[in-house]
């Protein structure tokens, strides 16, 4: 009996949507949305982003973020690590301006909020799954 329970437990966990696998799968893909960026030199500007996550391991995702203010395109790449079912944290790098920073992702179903900060400014965007 005990052996039987141990045997089916992994399957039950998968069927129950264990966050370690189910939410990780839902982060992968493309997300669109908008928000604001607050540069250290200059006024707050609206920004729109398209962020693509690609699964590298069960907890690590590479990130490619294409964002735009009214006049400028900002491309950054990075990696995020799953903290728990709905939170990810990581670093990003922008090669055009040579700046690095920190990024926090909070996922809720098909929506997420991304907050980022660096030496040149900070910002937040709200995204929906494409």
């Amino acid at each position: 009996m005990r052996a039987f329970i141990f045997a089916i437990l992994p399957a039950l966990l998968v069927l129950a949507g264990y966050p370690g696998t189910g939410h990780a799968a839902s982060l992968a893909g493309s997300w669109n949305g908008s928000g604001y960026v607050n540069p250290t030199k200059g006024k707050r500007e609206r920004v729109r982003c398209r962020i693509t996550y690609s699964k590298q391991t069960s907890k690590v995702f590479s990130v490619r973020a294409s964002c735009a203010t009214a006049s400028n395109k900002i491309l950054q790449t990075g990696e995020v690590l799953m903290v728990n079912a709905s939170r990810y944290v990581g670093d990003f790098y922008n090669s055009e301006y040579d700046i690095s920073g920190r990024v926090h992702v909070s996922v809720n179903g098909s929506r997420q909020t991304v907050s980022f900060s660096s030496g040149r400014g900070s910002g937040r965007v709200n995204l929906r799954k494409r």
């Binding site: 540069p39 030199k41 200059g42 006024k43 500007e45 609206r46 729109r48 982003c49 398209r50 294409s66 964002c67 735009a68 009214a70 006049s71 400028n72 395109k73 055009e96 301006y97």
Partner: protein, 803 residues
């Protein structure tokens, strides 16, 4: 008619000619195929399989790069420009048109479009009215003129529109005048070079269009996509479509014409097998050599098609005629190889000579075209020599009548009657036809040399595509859209913000802007003026500009790595000579600036400039190499027939064809561009084929005919039908080029069509008349001798000779 009175088998001996003796290896090859058809078949199948493998490397391309490329200082400067300022080549113009753009809804929709373009994967940067900021001050970065939340209030919208129109970059560059019924707003979209390299231009432009189409708000505008990358993408797509279209329609049309006259499916099949294989081998050659197919290369397929059809039909006619005359199959095939094989070989060799002559051009595009086209024609010849005997052995039968039996068609009889009538008319009016032909050729000669090189950049690009239409509207609303660049390199020790660099940039900007044919100029000088308009001192403004401009915008004007700046003037779609004149005038002004600033390197370059100078040089070279090809081909004809007289006879009809086409060009187009000169060279190579077949047949008939008139009459009756029929097939095959959306391909085809028509007239009328006039004195003497040697006449032949 001769064709209704077949020669009795015992009277028809094996044909013989000098041409056949010289080209005996080809006859030997044909004989091998006839005697060992299975081996020949296996070899063909294996080679075809190898060529089909080459298909996987087939790719389409536009021809602009390879046409312009050259080992000249001018081209190297242009390459340097593209290295330092890659955005100059990859700007797509997205236009939004509506009666009044400054409404809240429309501005909001354009803002959405701006954002969508910016975050699209293929896009590196976007310059639009949304990029424009308030004047620089000593404080923080100023905000954009157009706010994030577009106001609804009309007064505020008017104020915004005035600020936009006052910006030096906006007025008549990013936004058209409000006076016109339709306003146009321009989004200059810089493509990401890495994305383009990885995905190709057509896929990149398609993705951009999909992104735009996905924005529902843009339904209130007329959105257009233009610019050189969009036009190039259209060329590549059109070229890829043309590859399939030309070959399938060409084969279909050729087969239909064969059917109309043979009315036997078997004969149509036999004519089409080597033709279809020639196309497969040609495409396989492209694949194996890694040569991309551009609009000019695309013309090789119809060319190979028509040359192979021409030879296949001559060969097939000869085999069928021999079978109809009662010869055994083996003998019929062998005799056809001896009669027609050498003529087919000579026609292919002369066509190849004309094509190989193009390799003397300095343009890699035209060199490659000449090499591949010439090689394809020779490969097609080999296929004919090998395949026709194999097909005849397996598919034709002894004792059957193929041309004039029950199943044959009145079409052949009709052509026979036409050929007979032409022969009678030419014989009766020989002197008149020769005189008229010579006078016309003289007139056409003078008209041909009135042709001048001409070239317009837009004529290399699809004229019915969306991009051409949008470009026209942009020109109407914003002025010229084709760039002319001045690249300036400052000396070591200077910086982009130093007064010397700023002064030289300003001087160049003003010199370019002062030219009446340049509608607008763009450089860092515009941004400098805008930066100073906020009250900053020139040096402070320059330094702020350099710090605060986004790198993707800054790189449009300045390359810090090489220490260069670019000043771009925009011109309309001018003809090459006009651009060269404009460039010469600008150079005069730039020389003044160079003299005042000797340490600065200042070069006038850009796509428009390099295209104008390269085109005139290439076209002039091509004209010379074409005339060289004419001389070589006529010499080859003389050598092949072993007769200066034969070489001389071929001059007038072929020059008639070339110069008549040139005259037609003069009255319709006005000038020579690279496609027409290449077309004339190729068409000459095709036109001379008819001359060779006529001369070859005449030489054979002269061996048995007592009089020249008898020999020319038999020649026209035997060859006339085939010449008309094969010309019809050639014209039909080449007419498919008119379906292309790309002007150079259409122009090439049209030139070939007209040259072939004029060549047919010359070879059916002028050439036989010339033969009769030049050889006729011998006939008249022979006739007199014959008359006086008849019983009852008083004079002897010796007495007459002494008179």
């Amino acid at each position: 008619m001769l064709s209704n009175n077949p020669v009795r088998p015992e009277a028809k001996g094996e044909p013989d000619s000098r041409l056949a003796r010289i080209l005996w290896p080809l006859i030997a090859l044909a004989e091998f195929s006839r005697l060992r058809p299975a081996i020949a078949l296996v070899a063909i199948v294996l080679l075809t399989a190898i060529m089909l493998v080459g298909f996987k490397w087939l790719a389409a391309d536009d021809s602009l790069e390879s046409f312009l490329r050259a080992d000249t200082p001018g081209y190297h400067t242009y390459e340097t420009l593209r290295d330092r300022f890659p955005s100059s080549d990859l700007d797509v113009f997205v236009t939004a048109e509506a009666p009044n753009l400054f409404t809240a809804d429309r501005l909001q929709a354009m803002q959405d479009l701006n954002f969508t373009l910016l975050i699209a994967d293929p896009v590196k940067s976007v310059l639009s009215i949304f990029s424009l900021k308030q004047p620089l001050t000593s404080g923080d970065l100023p905000p954009s003129i157009l706010p994030e939340d577009i106001p609804e209030d009309e007064a505020k919208l008017n104020s915004l529109s005035q600020q936009i129109y006052a910006h030096p970059i906006a007025n008549n560059r990013l936004l058209s005048s409000p006076d016109a019924p339709q306003q146009l707003s321009l989004f200059v979209v810089g493509l990401d070079p890495e994305f383009v390299r990885a995905n190709g231009l057509p896929a990149t432009i398609d993705l951009l269009k999909e992104e735009i189409a996905a924005i529902p708000e843009t339904e209130s505008f007329k959105i257009g996509v233009a610019g050189v990358p969009a036009m190039k993408a259209e060329v590549i797509v059109s070229t890829a479509r043309d590859i399939v279209l030309f070959n399938s329609v060409g084969l279909l049309v050729g087969a239909m014409i064969c059917w109309l006259f043979f009315r036997r499916a078997l004969l149509v099949l036999i004519a089409n097998i080597p033709t279809a294989l020639a196309v497969v081998f040609c495409l396989g050659l492209f694949g194996w050599t890694g040569t991309k197919i551009d609009p000019l290369m695309n013309a090789i397929m119809p060319l190979v098609l028509v040359v192979t059809y021409n030879n296949a039909m001559h060969y097939l006619f000869a085999i069928c005629r021999n079978l109809d005359s009662g010869l055994a199959k083996g003998q019929a095939i062998r005799y056809a190889a001896i009669e027609i094989g050498p003529a087919c070989a000579l026609t292919s060799i002369t066509t190849s000579i004309a094509l190989f002559s193009l390799m003397f051009s300095s343009s890699p595009l035209i060199k490659t075209f000449g090499l591949l086209a010439g090689s394809s024609v020779l490969i097609a010849l080999t296929l004919i020599i090998v395949i026709m005997p194999v097909c005849a052995v397996y598919l034709l039968k002894d004792g059957r009548s193929y041309l004039h039996g029950k199943g044959s068609h009145q079409g052949i009889s009709l052509l026979d009657r036409l050929a007979e009538r032409i022969s009678r008319t030419v014989n009766k009016n020989r002197e008149a036809y020769v005189t008229f032909g010579a006078l016309l050729t003289g007139f056409f000669f003078f008209a041909y040399f009135l042709l001048e090189p001409q070239y317009r950049l837009s004529e290399m690009l699809p004229d019915h595509g969306q991009a051409a239409d949008v470009t026209k509207r942009m020109e109407d609303r914003l002025g010229g859209v084709f760039p002319l660049n001045v690249m300036m390199k400052w000396p070591t020790g200077e910086t982009p913000t130093s007064p010397a660099v700023r002064n030289v940039t300003q001087s160049i900007h003003q010199a370019v802007a002062a030219h009446p044919r340049i509608s607008k100029v763009s450089s860092l000088n515009d941004l400098q003026n805008w930066a100073q308009s906020g009250g900053l001192a020139p040096q402070a403004a320059a330094e702020r500009l350099l710090d605060d401009l986004p790198p993707s915008i800054r790189s449009r004007f300045v390359d810090l790595k090489s220490g260069s700046a670019i000043i771009t003037g925009y011109i309309a779609d001018l003809e090459a000579r006009e651009i060269l004149r404009l460039s010469a005038e600008l150079e005069g002004e730039l020389d003044r600036i160079r003299a005042a600033n000797p340490n600065f390197e200042i070069s006038l370059t850009g796509l428009s400039s390099i295209a104008a100078s390269r085109s005139t040089s290439v076209i002039s070279q091509l004209s010379i190499s074409m005339l060289g090809a004419v001389i070589v081909v006529i010499a080859v004809i003389g050598l092949a027939f072993g007769s200066l007289a034969m070489a001389g006879l071929s001059v007038l009809p072929n020059l008639f064809a070339i110069f008549a086409t040139g005259t037609w060009l003069l009255f319709t187009n006005g000038g020579l561009d690279y496609a027409t000169v290449v077309g004339l060279t190729v068409a000459f190579g095709l036109a001379v084929d008819d001359t060779i077949h006529v001369l070859n047949r005449f030489q054979i008939e002269k061996q048995t005919a007592a009089l020249t008139s008898e020999a020319t009459d038999r020649t026209l009756r035997l060859i006339g039908t085939v010449l008309i029929l094969t010309t019809a097939v050639l014209l039909a095959g080449l007419s498919v080029t008119q379906l292309s959306a790309v002007p150079p391909t259409r122009q090439f085809g049209l030139i070939c069509i007209f040259t072939l028509l004029f060549a047919l007239i010359a070879d059916l009328v002028i050439l036989p008349a010339l033969i009769l006039v030049t050889h006729g004195t011998g006939d008249r003497r022979a006739a007199r001798i014959a008359l006086q040697n008849r019983p009852g006449t008083s004079q002897t032949a010796e007495t007459i000779k002494s008179q």
